[in-house]
């Protein structure tokens, strides 16, 4: 194994251990819920960054896979009476299939057109969910709760078990994404982002690489949807609405797209802002809008990108001085 891989693995194990002992040190229902939501949205935003940050494909339709995750898993649990791991596997498989079909149509298109076509497919799914009332519950969403059969001693009806489950998935998915981004595959994607023509001349099959990234990102995003379905005990059409994809993009932009953990930082920032601003003031939009405006016009990049650049600049200056 390469040294970097070992280091990533070590960081992941430490982060996982910290998340596991956290509830016994600091007991708070709010914090537990926060981490579960953080896991759902964090996986979602980080998977989108495989497209936005690494491959340079700005997808406006990523919420599609959050929804296939939540609805696929919810429907399987309600109607099929199968175990949770099997349902998860099937859901991720189904989302990958959706991503394969949608991606095959979309990834040929350039920048803004790619963004719009993915948005169109996501909104089609949204309309389908709203219109297909007998299966999805339409506007009301998939209600009635999810059965949660115990597996391997894990009872997801208990909030503490759901916490451990979500935190583990978060760390695992981040590790997968990190691995994807650091392998030759990831560097090929960066090459495509920076110069698709050059990649093409070097013999890279740009279409297939983009498609592979799209399928990987979609599959991983569906895991976020599964966690969300478990957290809210159902699935709602809002998951497939374009605001969902918009929020993921804001998370990436707030946290930074070039630093690997940027989207996670962005998720935390947006969730904290959401929670605290709604609690402190009724002028939620005004406050959040002003904060985002300060971020964008002040930093002009995501928080972690800004910090990383500042550190790099400082090092450079120190290097010049010495």
């Amino acid at each position: 194994m390469r040294r970097d891989t070992l280091r990533d693995l070590a960081v992941a194990v430490i982060a996982w251990a910290a998340l596991m002992v956290f509830p016994s040190i600091y007991e708070s229902k709010f914090a537990i819920d926060f981490v579960i939501r953080m896991a759902a949205f964090g996986i979602f935003a980080a998977s989108l960054n495989l497209l936005v940050g690494v491959t340079g494909m700005v997808s406006f339709g990523h919420g599609m896979f959050f929804a296939t995750g939540a609805y696929g898993f919810g429907l399987l649990m309600q109607k099929a009476a199968i175990s949770i791991p099997l349902a998860m596997l099937l859901t991720v498989g189904a989302s990958a299939l959706v991503a394969l079909v949608v991606g095959a149509i979309c990834v040929r298109l350039k920048e803004i057109y790619f963004a719009f076509l993915t948005l169109a497919f996501q909104m089609l799914l949204h309309s389908l969910i709203v219109a297909w009332v007998p299966l999805t519950g339409g506007d009301q969403g998939l209600t009635g709760g999810l059965p949660r059969p115990v597996f391997l001693g894990i009872d997801l009806a208990k909030q503490s078990h759901l916490y451990g489950f979500s935190a583990t998935l978060l760390v695992a998915m981040l590790l997968v994404l990190r691995h994807l981004a650091e392998t030759p595959f990831g560097y090929t994607l960066r090459l495509i982002r920076d110069n698709p023509e050059r990649a093409h001349f070097l013999g890279v099959k740009v279409f297939w690489m983009r498609l592979a990234a799209f399928v990987a990102a979609g599959s991983i995003a569906s895991v976020g949807g599964i966690i969300m379905a478990l957290f809210v005990s159902g699935a709602f059409p809002e998951f497939a609405n374009w605001t969902m994809s918009g929020e993921a993009i804001f998370m990436i932009m707030l946290g930074g797209s070039t630093v690997f953990l940027g989207p996670i930082a962005g998720t935390a920032i947006l969730l904290v802002l959401n929670d605290f601003v709604t609690r402190l003031t009724e002028h939620y939009g005004l406050t959040l809008g002003l904060i985002i405006l300060l971020f964008t016009l002040g930093l002009r990049k995501g928080l972690l990108d800004f910090i990383a650049d500042a550190i790099a600049r400082r090092r450079e200056r120190a290097g010049q001085g010495g």
């Binding site: 057109y113 076509l117 939009g285």
Partner: protein, 299 residues
């Protein structure tokens, strides 16, 4: 799904006339908003996500001016000028700072303004639905065309928007200002090298876009109820219009807006739950077959 209702309607001239006029109203208002959006994109290569909020501001401005002056004409003109000015200020003070950076940064600036304006509207005009009411001039009995009911205001609206569309087309196609705009869309560097102030052109284009959106908001005020966040759906729809018609094409926006308006009004009979889906389906089809849109130039 209720295709029988749709088939019945298509069989009766009265129903066709009623649905077609309401479809045209939706389409023409959409055209005004989308024309501004497509114009701004054509010249600045920026997608103005706040355009729906501009429309909302137009409607509220018209509401207040109508309350004070009792004149619908003044209300519409005031709404257009007010939002045009707002567009200019918005571009100069905020958007112009993020042209060079990531597209997503522009999106964030716009998003923050959507949030701020929606909340500001709630603060100033209140969170509840507002309705301006029909101006007295148009309070007359409806006309009957082939048995279909057509309110006089609808005819006025169609006439005015058509007129504005033609004026816009002439301004862009025939005047010096239009020539400069087209040149700036084509090659801003050259325009700047020829001694024209591109920054001012950008500001003016944004103002023109805002003017059109404000106009649409003001014209729509008597027939639409107003609420904070009302710009959202029209923003999405005008996106679809610009994509179908081709980014930067005014004619394309016109055709696509009418197409979408008719899809909406007839679709609400045949497939009420899937009207939005149908619009996105059309957009997806166009993007797959001709990504640059029906009237767009090949990129």
């Amino acid at each position: 799904m209720d295709f029988a209702t749709l088939a019945n309607c298509l069989g009766s001239p009265a129903c066709v006339v009623t649905q077609a006029t309401s479809g045209l109203i939706i389409g023409m208002l959409l055209f005004l908003v989308a024309a501004g959006l497509t114009l701004i994109f054509g010249v600045l290569k920026v997608i103005n996500f706040t355009h729906g909020a501009f429309y909302m501001l137009g409607a509220y401005f018209a509401y207040s001016i109508f309350r004070v002056t009792d004149s619908y004409t003044l209300a519409v003109i005031g709404a257009a000028l007010g939002v045009g000015l707002f567009g200019l200020v918005f571009e100069r003070l905020f958007m112009s700072r993020v042209y060079g950076s990531n597209v997503l940064m522009q999106l964030l600036v716009c998003y923050s303004f959507i949030l701020i304006l929606d909340d500001a509207v709630k603060l100033i005009w209140g969170p509840e639905f507002k309705s301006m009411g029909m101006p007295p001039t148009f309070m007359r009995p409806p006309l009957f065309i082939a048995g279909g009911v057509v309110p006089p205001f609808y005819l006025f609206l169609i006439g005015v928007t058509c007129f504005i569309g033609i004026v816009l087309w002439l301004v862009i196609g025939r005047t010096r200002f239009g020539k400069i705009i087209r040149a700036a869309a084509h090659n801003p560097g050259m325009v700047s090298a020829l001694g024209l102030n591109t920054e001012m052109i950008y500001g003016l284009v944004f103002a023109l876009g805002g003017l059109l959106a404000g106009l649409a908001g003001g014209l729509a005020a008597p027939v639409r109820s107003m609420v904070s966040g009302m710009g959202f759906s029209i923003l999405i729809e005008s996106f679809i219009v610009t994509v179908i018609g081709g980014m930067g094409s005014i004619i394309g926006a016109f055709v696509a807006a009418i197409l979408l308006g008719l899809t909406r009004s007839f679709g609400s009979l045949g497939f009420p739950l899937f009207v939005d889906g149908a619009m996105f389906l059309i957009m997806a089809l166009v993007l797959v077959i001709k990504p640059s849109g029906l009237f767009g130039k090949e990129a």
